[in-house]
Protein backbone atom coordinates (compact mmCIF):
# COMPACT_ATOMS: atom_id res chain seq x y z
CA UNK A 1 0.00 0.00 0.00
CA UNK A 2 0.99 3.61 -0.22
CA UNK A 3 2.80 2.83 -3.43
CA UNK A 4 4.09 -0.50 -2.14
CA UNK A 5 3.50 -3.57 -4.28
CA UNK A 6 0.47 -5.55 -3.07
CA UNK A 7 1.29 -8.81 -1.35
CA UNK A 8 -2.14 -10.37 -1.30
CA UNK A 9 -3.60 -11.93 -4.40
CA UNK A 10 -7.16 -13.28 -4.24
CA UNK A 11 -7.06 -15.09 -7.61
CA UNK A 12 -6.68 -18.53 -6.06
CA UNK A 13 -9.24 -17.97 -3.33
CA UNK A 14 -11.70 -16.47 -5.83
CA UNK A 15 -11.22 -19.48 -8.12
CA UNK A 16 -12.07 -21.82 -5.29
CA UNK A 17 -14.86 -19.63 -3.91
CA UNK A 18 -16.09 -18.71 -7.36
CA UNK A 19 -16.03 -15.02 -6.36
CA UNK A 20 -18.21 -15.62 -3.34
CA UNK A 21 -17.57 -12.54 -1.16
CA UNK A 22 -18.90 -14.14 2.03
CA UNK A 23 -16.44 -16.96 1.61
CA UNK A 24 -13.61 -14.50 0.88
CA UNK A 25 -14.42 -12.51 4.02
CA UNK A 26 -14.47 -15.64 6.14
CA UNK A 27 -11.10 -16.68 4.79
CA UNK A 28 -9.64 -13.19 5.45
CA UNK A 29 -10.92 -13.29 9.03
CA UNK A 30 -9.54 -16.78 9.63
CA UNK A 31 -6.16 -15.74 8.21
CA UNK A 32 -6.13 -12.61 10.33
CA UNK A 33 -6.91 -14.70 13.42
CA UNK A 34 -4.41 -17.45 12.73
CA UNK A 35 -1.48 -15.70 11.10
CA UNK A 36 -0.17 -13.85 14.21
CA UNK A 37 -0.47 -17.04 16.28
CA UNK A 38 1.46 -19.21 13.82
CA UNK A 39 4.07 -16.50 13.28
CA UNK A 40 4.64 -16.23 17.06
CA UNK A 41 4.87 -20.02 17.42
CA UNK A 42 7.22 -20.31 14.46
CA UNK A 43 9.47 -17.54 15.78
CA UNK A 44 9.58 -19.25 19.16
CA UNK A 45 10.44 -22.59 17.51
CA UNK A 46 13.28 -21.06 15.46
CA UNK A 47 14.63 -19.14 18.44
CA UNK A 48 14.59 -22.19 20.66
CA UNK A 49 16.04 -24.30 17.85
CA UNK A 50 13.14 -26.73 18.08
CA UNK A 51 13.55 -27.98 14.53
CA UNK A 52 10.77 -30.59 14.62
CA UNK A 53 8.30 -27.91 15.60
CA UNK A 54 9.76 -25.58 12.98
CA UNK A 55 9.17 -28.23 10.30
CA UNK A 56 5.57 -28.79 11.39
CA UNK A 57 4.65 -25.12 11.72
CA UNK A 58 6.31 -24.05 8.47
CA UNK A 59 4.63 -26.92 6.62
CA UNK A 60 1.27 -26.08 8.16
CA UNK A 61 1.56 -22.41 7.22
CA UNK A 62 2.32 -22.99 3.55
CA UNK A 63 -1.28 -23.68 2.39
CA UNK A 64 -2.56 -20.63 4.33
CA UNK A 65 -0.18 -18.21 2.66
CA UNK A 66 -0.79 -20.03 -0.64
CA UNK A 67 -4.51 -19.35 -0.32
CA UNK A 68 -3.76 -15.63 0.04
CA UNK A 69 -1.59 -15.70 -3.07
CA UNK A 70 1.60 -15.06 -1.10
CA UNK A 71 3.69 -17.32 -3.28
CA UNK A 72 7.10 -15.86 -2.36
CA UNK A 73 6.36 -16.41 1.32
CA UNK A 74 5.29 -19.98 0.54
CA UNK A 75 8.67 -20.59 -1.16
CA UNK A 76 10.57 -19.19 1.83
CA UNK A 77 8.51 -21.27 4.26
CA UNK A 78 9.29 -24.42 2.26
CA UNK A 79 12.98 -23.53 2.37
CA UNK A 80 12.77 -23.05 6.13
CA UNK A 81 10.93 -26.35 6.46
CA UNK A 82 13.44 -28.26 4.31
CA UNK A 83 16.43 -26.80 6.10
CA UNK A 84 14.97 -27.70 9.46
CA UNK A 85 13.95 -31.18 8.29
CA UNK A 86 17.41 -31.92 6.88
CA UNK A 87 19.18 -30.02 9.67
CA UNK A 88 20.98 -27.97 7.06
CA UNK A 89 21.91 -24.27 7.11
CA UNK A 90 20.22 -23.99 10.46
CA UNK A 91 22.20 -20.85 11.22
CA UNK A 92 20.32 -19.13 8.40
CA UNK A 93 16.90 -20.01 9.81
CA UNK A 94 16.27 -16.71 11.51
CA UNK A 95 17.44 -14.87 8.36
CA UNK A 96 14.81 -16.83 6.47
CA UNK A 97 12.11 -16.31 9.06
CA UNK A 98 12.40 -12.54 9.49
CA UNK A 99 11.42 -11.60 5.90
CA UNK A 100 8.52 -14.08 6.21
CA UNK A 101 7.39 -12.32 9.36
CA UNK A 102 7.85 -8.90 7.81
CA UNK A 103 5.82 -9.80 4.73
CA UNK A 104 3.07 -11.39 6.81
CA UNK A 105 2.75 -8.27 8.99
CA UNK A 106 2.47 -6.24 5.81
CA UNK A 107 -0.12 -8.72 4.48
CA UNK A 108 -2.17 -8.38 7.68
CA UNK A 109 -2.26 -4.61 7.24
CA UNK A 110 -3.23 -5.02 3.64
CA UNK A 111 -5.99 -7.46 4.52
CA UNK A 112 -7.36 -5.20 7.26
CA UNK A 113 -7.63 -2.40 4.69
CA UNK A 114 -9.27 -4.66 2.11
CA UNK A 115 -11.67 -5.94 4.73
CA UNK A 116 -12.75 -2.41 5.61
CA UNK A 117 -13.40 -1.71 1.94
CA UNK A 118 -15.45 -4.86 1.81
CA UNK A 119 -17.55 -3.93 4.79
CA UNK A 120 -18.39 -0.44 3.53
Amino acid sequence: MNGQQEIINFDYINTIGQNNNDFLLKMINTFLDQCPIILAELEEAVLSEDWEKTVNLAHRFVPSVGLMGMDDVAIDLKQLENNAKNRMHLDQSMDLFLPIKQTCIQAIEELETKKKLFLI
Binding site: D11, Y12, I13, T15, I16, G17, F23, K26, M27, T30, F31, D33, Q34, N56, H59, R60, F61, V62, P63, S64, G66, L67
Partner: protein, 456 residues
Protein backbone atom coordinates in the same frame (compact mmCIF):
# COMPACT_ATOMS: atom_id res chain seq x y z
CA UNK B 1 -25.19 -36.98 13.65
CA UNK B 2 -27.23 -36.03 10.64
CA UNK B 3 -30.04 -37.53 8.69
CA UNK B 4 -30.26 -40.62 6.53
CA UNK B 5 -29.58 -38.79 3.29
CA UNK B 6 -26.44 -36.95 4.43
CA UNK B 7 -23.00 -38.02 3.34
CA UNK B 8 -20.71 -37.72 6.35
CA UNK B 9 -17.18 -36.57 5.59
CA UNK B 10 -14.38 -36.31 8.17
CA UNK B 11 -11.59 -33.95 7.12
CA UNK B 12 -8.26 -33.96 8.92
CA UNK B 13 -6.38 -30.71 8.36
CA UNK B 14 -4.19 -28.92 10.89
CA UNK B 15 -3.99 -25.57 9.08
CA UNK B 16 -7.10 -23.68 10.26
CA UNK B 17 -7.16 -21.45 7.18
CA UNK B 18 -6.96 -24.34 4.77
CA UNK B 19 -9.39 -26.33 6.94
CA UNK B 20 -11.96 -23.56 6.59
CA UNK B 21 -11.44 -23.53 2.83
CA UNK B 22 -11.78 -27.29 2.76
CA UNK B 23 -15.03 -27.21 4.71
CA UNK B 24 -16.36 -24.57 2.34
CA UNK B 25 -15.51 -26.65 -0.73
CA UNK B 26 -16.84 -29.87 0.78
CA UNK B 27 -20.12 -28.31 1.85
CA UNK B 28 -20.78 -26.92 -1.63
CA UNK B 29 -22.77 -30.12 -1.98
CA UNK B 30 -25.65 -29.74 0.52
CA UNK B 31 -25.71 -33.50 0.97
CA UNK B 32 -22.29 -33.36 2.63
CA UNK B 33 -22.01 -33.15 6.38
CA UNK B 34 -18.44 -32.20 7.23
CA UNK B 35 -16.58 -32.56 10.51
CA UNK B 36 -13.06 -31.17 10.89
CA UNK B 37 -10.21 -32.64 12.94
CA UNK B 38 -6.84 -30.98 13.37
CA UNK B 39 -4.93 -34.15 14.24
CA UNK B 40 -4.91 -37.87 13.51
CA UNK B 41 -5.66 -39.14 17.00
CA UNK B 42 -8.90 -37.16 17.22
CA UNK B 43 -9.98 -38.74 13.96
CA UNK B 44 -9.19 -42.22 15.26
CA UNK B 45 -11.21 -41.50 18.42
CA UNK B 46 -14.23 -40.68 16.26
CA UNK B 47 -13.84 -43.32 13.59
CA UNK B 48 -16.44 -45.58 15.18
CA UNK B 49 -19.09 -43.12 13.94
CA UNK B 50 -18.22 -44.44 10.50
CA UNK B 51 -17.95 -41.49 8.14
CA UNK B 52 -18.73 -42.19 4.51
CA UNK B 53 -15.44 -40.64 3.40
CA UNK B 54 -12.29 -39.16 4.95
CA UNK B 55 -9.85 -36.55 3.66
CA UNK B 56 -6.43 -36.49 5.28
CA UNK B 57 -3.73 -33.84 5.08
CA UNK B 58 -0.48 -35.60 4.28
CA UNK B 59 1.45 -33.80 7.04
CA UNK B 60 -0.14 -33.77 10.45
CA UNK B 61 1.27 -32.74 13.82
CA UNK B 62 0.94 -36.11 15.53
CA UNK B 63 1.49 -38.60 12.70
CA UNK B 64 2.02 -38.71 8.98
CA UNK B 65 -0.94 -38.91 6.63
CA UNK B 66 0.41 -42.27 5.50
CA UNK B 67 0.34 -43.71 9.03
CA UNK B 68 -3.15 -42.36 9.57
CA UNK B 69 -4.29 -43.83 6.26
CA UNK B 70 -2.96 -47.24 7.30
CA UNK B 71 -4.68 -47.03 10.68
CA UNK B 72 -8.01 -46.10 9.08
CA UNK B 73 -7.72 -48.83 6.45
CA UNK B 74 -6.85 -51.40 9.11
CA UNK B 75 -10.06 -50.69 10.99
CA UNK B 76 -12.41 -49.74 8.16
CA UNK B 77 -11.02 -50.83 4.80
CA UNK B 78 -14.27 -49.92 3.06
CA UNK B 79 -14.10 -46.16 3.89
CA UNK B 80 -12.57 -44.22 0.98
CA UNK B 81 -9.69 -41.96 2.06
CA UNK B 82 -8.50 -39.01 -0.01
CA UNK B 83 -5.04 -37.69 0.77
CA UNK B 84 -4.52 -33.96 0.33
CA UNK B 85 -0.93 -32.84 0.11
CA UNK B 86 0.86 -29.52 -0.29
CA UNK B 87 3.38 -31.14 -2.60
CA UNK B 88 2.99 -33.11 -5.73
CA UNK B 89 5.28 -36.10 -5.48
CA UNK B 90 4.56 -38.95 -7.84
CA UNK B 91 6.39 -41.51 -5.71
CA UNK B 92 4.46 -40.51 -2.60
CA UNK B 93 1.19 -40.57 -4.51
CA UNK B 94 1.85 -44.07 -5.87
CA UNK B 95 2.89 -45.31 -2.44
CA UNK B 96 -0.28 -43.94 -0.85
CA UNK B 97 -2.55 -45.28 -3.58
CA UNK B 98 -0.95 -48.69 -3.12
CA UNK B 99 -1.58 -48.41 0.61
CA UNK B 100 -5.27 -48.04 -0.14
CA UNK B 101 -5.81 -44.28 -0.60
CA UNK B 102 -8.76 -43.58 -2.87
CA UNK B 103 -7.11 -40.49 -4.39
CA UNK B 104 -4.19 -38.12 -3.95
CA UNK B 105 -4.90 -34.42 -4.45
CA UNK B 106 -2.51 -31.50 -4.26
CA UNK B 107 -3.33 -28.14 -2.70
CA UNK B 108 -3.38 -26.16 -5.91
CA UNK B 109 -5.93 -24.08 -7.77
CA UNK B 110 -7.66 -27.18 -9.18
CA UNK B 111 -8.38 -28.54 -5.72
CA UNK B 112 -12.05 -27.58 -5.78
CA UNK B 113 -12.88 -29.49 -8.98
CA UNK B 114 -10.55 -32.39 -8.26
CA UNK B 115 -11.85 -32.86 -4.75
CA UNK B 116 -15.51 -32.71 -5.70
CA UNK B 117 -14.97 -35.01 -8.69
CA UNK B 118 -13.10 -37.46 -6.56
CA UNK B 119 -15.84 -37.44 -3.91
CA UNK B 120 -18.53 -37.92 -6.54
CA UNK B 121 -16.65 -40.89 -7.96
CA UNK B 122 -16.21 -42.32 -4.48
CA UNK B 123 -19.94 -41.92 -3.89
CA UNK B 124 -20.69 -43.89 -7.05
CA UNK B 125 -18.31 -46.62 -5.91
CA UNK B 126 -19.86 -46.67 -2.45
CA UNK B 127 -23.29 -46.93 -4.02
CA UNK B 128 -22.12 -49.80 -6.24
CA UNK B 129 -20.42 -51.51 -3.32
CA UNK B 130 -23.63 -51.19 -1.27
CA UNK B 131 -25.62 -52.58 -4.16
CA UNK B 132 -23.25 -55.54 -4.48
CA UNK B 133 -23.45 -56.13 -0.73
CA UNK B 134 -27.26 -56.02 -0.82
CA UNK B 135 -27.32 -58.43 -3.76
CA UNK B 136 -24.94 -60.75 -1.92
CA UNK B 137 -27.19 -60.72 1.11
CA UNK B 138 -30.20 -61.41 -1.11
CA UNK B 139 -28.33 -64.29 -2.71
CA UNK B 140 -27.46 -65.76 0.67
CA UNK B 141 -31.13 -65.59 1.62
CA UNK B 142 -32.19 -66.97 -1.75
CA UNK B 143 -29.90 -69.95 -1.41
CA UNK B 144 -30.38 -70.49 2.29
CA UNK B 145 -31.12 -74.17 1.93
CA UNK B 146 -33.17 -74.43 5.08
CA UNK B 147 -35.68 -71.98 3.64
CA UNK B 148 -35.48 -72.59 -0.08
CA UNK B 149 -34.74 -76.23 -0.64
CA UNK B 150 -37.99 -77.77 0.37
CA UNK B 151 -38.71 -81.25 1.60
CA UNK B 152 -39.21 -83.37 4.69
CA UNK B 153 -38.94 -86.79 3.10
CA UNK B 154 -36.14 -89.12 4.20
CA UNK B 155 -34.54 -88.74 0.75
CA UNK B 156 -34.37 -84.95 1.15
CA UNK B 157 -33.16 -85.21 4.74
CA UNK B 158 -30.20 -87.09 3.33
CA UNK B 159 -29.62 -84.28 0.86
CA UNK B 160 -29.64 -81.72 3.68
CA UNK B 161 -27.12 -83.78 5.64
CA UNK B 162 -24.82 -83.87 2.62
CA UNK B 163 -25.28 -80.13 2.05
CA UNK B 164 -24.27 -79.40 5.63
CA UNK B 165 -21.10 -81.39 5.06
CA UNK B 166 -20.42 -79.78 1.69
CA UNK B 167 -20.52 -76.18 2.96
CA UNK B 168 -18.03 -76.80 5.75
CA UNK B 169 -15.15 -77.75 3.46
CA UNK B 170 -13.92 -77.13 -0.06
CA UNK B 171 -14.49 -80.71 -1.16
CA UNK B 172 -15.50 -81.26 -4.78
CA UNK B 173 -19.22 -81.97 -4.97
CA UNK B 174 -20.95 -84.08 -7.61
CA UNK B 175 -24.69 -83.68 -7.91
CA UNK B 176 -26.66 -86.38 -9.64
CA UNK B 177 -30.32 -86.28 -10.44
CA UNK B 178 -32.91 -86.35 -13.17
CA UNK B 179 -33.64 -83.28 -15.17
CA UNK B 180 -35.65 -80.71 -13.23
CA UNK B 181 -34.64 -81.90 -9.78
CA UNK B 182 -32.78 -78.66 -9.00
CA UNK B 183 -29.12 -79.57 -9.46
CA UNK B 184 -28.03 -75.96 -10.09
CA UNK B 185 -29.98 -74.80 -7.03
CA UNK B 186 -28.01 -77.29 -4.94
CA UNK B 187 -24.72 -76.11 -6.47
CA UNK B 188 -25.61 -72.49 -5.68
CA UNK B 189 -26.70 -73.42 -2.18
CA UNK B 190 -23.31 -75.05 -1.57
CA UNK B 191 -21.45 -72.01 -2.90
CA UNK B 192 -23.53 -69.29 -1.24
CA UNK B 193 -23.43 -71.01 2.12
CA UNK B 194 -19.70 -71.69 2.01
CA UNK B 195 -16.72 -69.51 2.90
CA UNK B 196 -16.43 -68.68 -0.82
CA UNK B 197 -19.83 -66.97 -0.92
CA UNK B 198 -18.39 -63.51 -1.62
CA UNK B 199 -16.36 -64.80 -4.55
CA UNK B 200 -17.64 -65.68 -8.02
CA UNK B 201 -19.99 -68.56 -8.78
CA UNK B 202 -19.46 -69.44 -12.44
CA UNK B 203 -21.87 -71.92 -14.03
CA UNK B 204 -20.91 -73.63 -17.30
CA UNK B 205 -23.37 -75.86 -19.13
CA UNK B 206 -21.15 -78.37 -20.91
CA UNK B 207 -24.04 -79.63 -23.03
CA UNK B 208 -24.85 -76.15 -24.29
CA UNK B 209 -21.44 -75.52 -25.84
CA UNK B 210 -19.96 -77.25 -28.88
CA UNK B 211 -16.76 -79.13 -28.08
CA UNK B 212 -14.78 -76.86 -30.38
CA UNK B 213 -15.63 -73.86 -28.17
CA UNK B 214 -15.64 -75.53 -24.81
CA UNK B 215 -11.88 -75.69 -24.35
CA UNK B 216 -11.35 -71.98 -24.94
CA UNK B 217 -14.44 -71.17 -22.88
CA UNK B 218 -13.11 -73.15 -19.92
CA UNK B 219 -9.41 -72.36 -20.08
CA UNK B 220 -9.22 -69.07 -22.00
CA UNK B 221 -6.82 -68.14 -24.76
CA UNK B 222 -4.01 -65.78 -25.66
CA UNK B 223 -4.12 -63.21 -28.46
CA UNK B 224 -3.39 -64.94 -31.77
CA UNK B 225 -4.00 -68.44 -30.38
CA UNK B 226 -6.31 -69.10 -33.31
CA UNK B 227 -8.07 -67.21 -36.08
CA UNK B 228 -10.36 -64.69 -34.46
CA UNK B 229 -8.47 -64.57 -31.14
CA UNK B 230 -7.90 -60.83 -31.37
CA UNK B 231 -7.17 -60.36 -27.71
CA UNK B 232 -6.44 -62.38 -24.61
CA UNK B 233 -9.51 -63.81 -22.93
CA UNK B 234 -9.58 -65.54 -19.59
CA UNK B 235 -11.63 -68.70 -19.27
CA UNK B 236 -14.35 -69.74 -16.87
CA UNK B 237 -11.83 -71.40 -14.54
CA UNK B 238 -9.91 -68.17 -14.13
CA UNK B 239 -13.17 -66.23 -13.72
CA UNK B 240 -14.06 -68.57 -10.90
CA UNK B 241 -10.71 -68.17 -9.14
CA UNK B 242 -11.17 -68.07 -5.34
CA UNK B 243 -14.80 -69.00 -5.96
CA UNK B 244 -16.70 -71.94 -7.42
CA UNK B 245 -17.10 -73.33 -10.93
CA UNK B 246 -20.25 -75.36 -11.61
CA UNK B 247 -19.82 -77.79 -14.48
CA UNK B 248 -23.35 -78.78 -15.40
CA UNK B 249 -23.96 -81.84 -17.57
CA UNK B 250 -20.37 -82.97 -17.09
CA UNK B 251 -21.29 -86.35 -18.61
CA UNK B 252 -21.55 -84.66 -22.00
CA UNK B 253 -17.90 -83.65 -22.10
CA UNK B 254 -15.77 -84.93 -24.96
CA UNK B 255 -13.17 -87.53 -23.88
CA UNK B 256 -10.23 -85.49 -25.26
CA UNK B 257 -11.27 -82.47 -23.25
CA UNK B 258 -11.75 -84.70 -20.19
CA UNK B 259 -7.98 -85.34 -20.23
CA UNK B 260 -7.27 -81.58 -20.19
CA UNK B 261 -9.79 -81.02 -17.42
CA UNK B 262 -8.18 -83.79 -15.39
CA UNK B 263 -4.78 -82.13 -15.70
CA UNK B 264 -6.16 -78.76 -14.57
CA UNK B 265 -7.88 -80.35 -11.59
CA UNK B 266 -4.80 -82.36 -10.60
CA UNK B 267 -2.27 -79.56 -11.00
CA UNK B 268 -4.56 -76.75 -9.84
CA UNK B 269 -3.15 -74.62 -12.63
CA UNK B 270 -3.77 -74.03 -16.32
CA UNK B 271 -2.13 -72.64 -19.41
CA UNK B 272 -4.37 -70.57 -21.67
CA UNK B 273 -4.66 -71.84 -25.25
CA UNK B 274 -1.74 -70.47 -27.27
CA UNK B 275 0.09 -69.34 -24.15
CA UNK B 276 2.98 -70.42 -21.92
CA UNK B 277 2.13 -68.73 -18.66
CA UNK B 278 1.01 -71.00 -15.83
CA UNK B 279 -2.04 -69.63 -14.06
CA UNK B 280 -2.50 -70.87 -10.50
CA UNK B 281 -6.05 -71.76 -9.57
CA UNK B 282 -7.95 -71.89 -6.33
CA UNK B 283 -11.33 -73.04 -7.55
CA UNK B 284 -13.93 -75.22 -5.95
CA UNK B 285 -15.52 -77.60 -8.42
CA UNK B 286 -19.13 -78.69 -8.37
CA UNK B 287 -20.36 -80.97 -11.14
CA UNK B 288 -23.81 -82.19 -12.07
CA UNK B 289 -25.22 -84.75 -14.39
CA UNK B 290 -28.41 -86.66 -14.99
CA UNK B 291 -26.36 -89.59 -16.28
CA UNK B 292 -25.00 -92.53 -14.32
CA UNK B 293 -21.32 -91.68 -14.71
CA UNK B 294 -20.22 -95.09 -13.44
CA UNK B 295 -21.99 -96.64 -16.40
CA UNK B 296 -20.41 -94.07 -18.71
CA UNK B 297 -17.01 -95.13 -17.37
CA UNK B 298 -17.84 -98.78 -18.12
CA UNK B 299 -18.97 -97.77 -21.59
CA UNK B 300 -15.68 -95.96 -22.14
CA UNK B 301 -17.26 -92.54 -22.67
CA UNK B 302 -16.05 -91.07 -19.39
CA UNK B 303 -12.52 -91.32 -18.01
CA UNK B 304 -12.25 -93.39 -14.87
CA UNK B 305 -9.51 -91.18 -13.33
CA UNK B 306 -11.62 -88.07 -13.91
CA UNK B 307 -14.68 -89.83 -12.51
CA UNK B 308 -12.91 -90.45 -9.20
CA UNK B 309 -11.44 -86.94 -9.17
CA UNK B 310 -14.85 -85.38 -9.60
CA UNK B 311 -16.87 -87.72 -7.43
CA UNK B 312 -15.85 -85.96 -4.20
CA UNK B 313 -18.95 -85.65 -2.07
CA UNK B 314 -21.79 -87.13 -4.09
CA UNK B 315 -25.24 -85.65 -3.59
CA UNK B 316 -28.10 -87.61 -5.11
CA UNK B 317 -31.21 -85.58 -5.79
CA UNK B 318 -34.20 -87.90 -5.72
CA UNK B 319 -36.86 -87.48 -8.39
CA UNK B 320 -40.15 -86.13 -7.13
CA UNK B 321 -41.91 -89.47 -7.58
CA UNK B 322 -39.56 -90.91 -4.92
CA UNK B 323 -40.67 -88.28 -2.44
CA UNK B 324 -44.39 -87.98 -2.91
CA UNK B 325 -44.69 -86.71 0.67
CA UNK B 326 -42.93 -83.53 -0.37
CA UNK B 327 -45.21 -82.77 -3.31
CA UNK B 328 -47.83 -80.82 -1.37
CA UNK B 329 -45.24 -78.96 0.71
CA UNK B 330 -43.47 -77.84 -2.46
CA UNK B 331 -46.79 -76.99 -4.15
CA UNK B 332 -47.77 -74.73 -1.26
CA UNK B 333 -44.34 -73.09 -1.36
CA UNK B 334 -44.67 -72.33 -5.09
CA UNK B 335 -48.26 -71.08 -4.66
CA UNK B 336 -47.09 -68.66 -1.96
CA UNK B 337 -44.08 -67.58 -4.00
CA UNK B 338 -46.13 -66.98 -7.17
CA UNK B 339 -48.90 -65.19 -5.27
CA UNK B 340 -46.37 -62.93 -3.58
CA UNK B 341 -44.55 -62.11 -6.81
CA UNK B 342 -47.82 -61.30 -8.57
CA UNK B 343 -49.70 -59.72 -5.65
CA UNK B 344 -52.44 -62.33 -5.85
CA UNK B 345 -53.39 -62.69 -2.19
CA UNK B 346 -53.81 -66.01 -0.41
CA UNK B 347 -54.67 -68.97 -2.63
CA UNK B 348 -55.28 -72.44 -1.20
CA UNK B 349 -55.31 -75.85 -2.88
CA UNK B 350 -58.59 -77.79 -2.61
CA UNK B 351 -58.71 -81.46 -1.53
CA UNK B 352 -59.56 -82.60 -5.08
CA UNK B 353 -56.65 -80.63 -6.49
CA UNK B 354 -54.34 -82.09 -3.86
CA UNK B 355 -55.43 -85.62 -4.82
CA UNK B 356 -54.75 -84.86 -8.46
CA UNK B 357 -51.31 -83.48 -7.66
CA UNK B 358 -50.46 -86.51 -5.53
CA UNK B 359 -51.64 -88.99 -8.14
CA UNK B 360 -49.27 -87.61 -10.76
CA UNK B 361 -45.75 -88.96 -11.21
CA UNK B 362 -43.95 -85.71 -12.11
CA UNK B 363 -41.55 -86.89 -14.82
CA UNK B 364 -40.32 -83.31 -15.21
CA UNK B 365 -39.72 -83.11 -11.44
CA UNK B 366 -39.65 -79.78 -9.58
CA UNK B 367 -39.33 -77.76 -12.78
CA UNK B 368 -42.57 -79.29 -14.08
CA UNK B 369 -44.29 -78.92 -10.74
CA UNK B 370 -43.41 -75.23 -10.61
CA UNK B 371 -44.80 -74.68 -14.11
CA UNK B 372 -48.00 -76.60 -13.29
CA UNK B 373 -48.54 -74.63 -10.09
CA UNK B 374 -47.88 -71.26 -11.70
CA UNK B 375 -50.39 -72.06 -14.44
CA UNK B 376 -52.87 -73.29 -11.81
CA UNK B 377 -52.54 -70.02 -9.91
CA UNK B 378 -53.34 -68.13 -13.10
CA UNK B 379 -56.26 -70.45 -13.96
CA UNK B 380 -57.69 -70.31 -10.44
CA UNK B 381 -60.46 -67.97 -9.31
CA UNK B 382 -57.91 -66.12 -7.17
CA UNK B 383 -58.94 -67.83 -3.94
CA UNK B 384 -58.50 -71.55 -4.49
CA UNK B 385 -56.87 -73.96 -6.91
CA UNK B 386 -59.37 -76.63 -8.03
CA UNK B 387 -58.62 -79.94 -9.74
CA UNK B 388 -59.61 -78.52 -13.13
CA UNK B 389 -57.09 -75.67 -12.72
CA UNK B 390 -54.31 -78.23 -12.76
CA UNK B 391 -53.12 -79.19 -16.22
CA UNK B 392 -50.31 -81.61 -16.91
CA UNK B 393 -48.33 -81.25 -20.10
CA UNK B 394 -45.55 -83.73 -19.51
CA UNK B 395 -43.35 -84.44 -22.50
CA UNK B 396 -42.01 -87.64 -21.09
CA UNK B 397 -44.82 -90.20 -21.30
CA UNK B 398 -42.44 -93.16 -21.12
CA UNK B 399 -40.92 -92.11 -17.85
CA UNK B 400 -44.42 -91.34 -16.68
CA UNK B 401 -45.61 -94.84 -17.51
CA UNK B 402 -42.92 -96.59 -15.52
CA UNK B 403 -42.59 -94.04 -12.79
CA UNK B 404 -45.66 -95.25 -10.98
CA UNK B 405 -46.00 -98.76 -9.61
CA UNK B 406 -49.02 -100.49 -11.18
CA UNK B 407 -50.38 -103.98 -11.74
CA UNK B 408 -49.79 -105.75 -15.03
CA UNK B 409 -53.40 -105.11 -16.00
CA UNK B 410 -53.06 -101.41 -15.22
CA UNK B 411 -49.88 -101.19 -17.29
CA UNK B 412 -51.70 -102.90 -20.16
CA UNK B 413 -54.64 -100.52 -19.89
CA UNK B 414 -52.26 -97.57 -19.77
CA UNK B 415 -50.44 -98.70 -22.89
CA UNK B 416 -53.70 -99.18 -24.76
CA UNK B 417 -55.01 -95.80 -23.63
CA UNK B 418 -51.80 -94.04 -24.72
CA UNK B 419 -51.81 -95.71 -28.13
CA UNK B 420 -55.46 -94.82 -28.64
CA UNK B 421 -54.65 -91.24 -27.74
CA UNK B 422 -51.67 -91.22 -30.08
CA UNK B 423 -53.56 -92.71 -33.05
CA UNK B 424 -56.81 -90.77 -32.62
CA UNK B 425 -58.78 -93.77 -31.27
CA UNK B 426 -58.12 -95.74 -34.47
CA UNK B 427 -58.56 -99.24 -33.02
CA UNK B 428 -57.34 -101.00 -36.15
CA UNK B 429 -54.13 -99.03 -36.29
CA UNK B 430 -53.51 -99.47 -32.55
CA UNK B 431 -54.06 -103.25 -32.87
CA UNK B 432 -51.59 -103.31 -35.72
CA UNK B 433 -48.99 -101.28 -33.83
CA UNK B 434 -49.34 -103.47 -30.73
CA UNK B 435 -49.37 -106.59 -32.85
CA UNK B 436 -52.65 -107.90 -31.37
CA UNK B 437 -56.07 -108.48 -32.84
CA UNK B 438 -58.63 -105.65 -32.86
CA UNK B 439 -60.91 -107.76 -30.66
CA UNK B 440 -58.23 -107.69 -27.97
CA UNK B 441 -58.28 -103.91 -28.01
CA UNK B 442 -62.10 -103.88 -27.79
CA UNK B 443 -61.91 -106.33 -24.90
CA UNK B 444 -59.48 -104.09 -23.03
CA UNK B 445 -61.69 -101.09 -23.67
CA UNK B 446 -64.67 -102.94 -22.26
CA UNK B 447 -62.73 -104.02 -19.16
CA UNK B 448 -61.44 -100.49 -18.66
CA UNK B 449 -65.00 -99.22 -18.76
CA UNK B 450 -66.21 -101.91 -16.37
CA UNK B 451 -63.41 -101.24 -13.93
CA UNK B 452 -63.83 -97.49 -14.32
CA UNK B 453 -60.12 -97.25 -15.15
CA UNK B 454 -58.66 -93.81 -15.53
CA UNK B 455 -55.04 -93.26 -16.04
CA UNK B 456 -55.20 -89.85 -14.49
Amino acid sequence: MGNNTSFKIYAVEDDPVFAKMLKYVLTLDPEHEVELFDNGLDLMDNLHHRPALITIDYSLPDMSGEDLLKRVKYQFPEIPVIIISAQERIKTAVKLLKAGAYDYITKDEDIRERLLNSINNAKKNISLANEVETLREELSIKYDFEKNIIGKSPAMKKVFTMLEKAVKTNITVSVNGETGTGKELIAKAVHFNSSRKNKPFIPVNIAALPNSLLESELFGYEKGAFTGANSRRIGKFEEANKGTIFLDEIGEMDVNLQAKLLRVIQERELVRIGGNELVKLDVRIITATHKDLAKEVQAGTFREDLYYRLLGLPIYLPPLRERQNDVLIICKYFVEQFSKENQLGNIYITQDAQKKLLAYSWPGNIRELKAVIELACVMSDGEKIDAEDIQFNSLNKDTDLFSKEMTMKEYTFTIVRNFLEKYDDNVLLVAEKLNVGKSTIYRYLKEMEEENFQLR
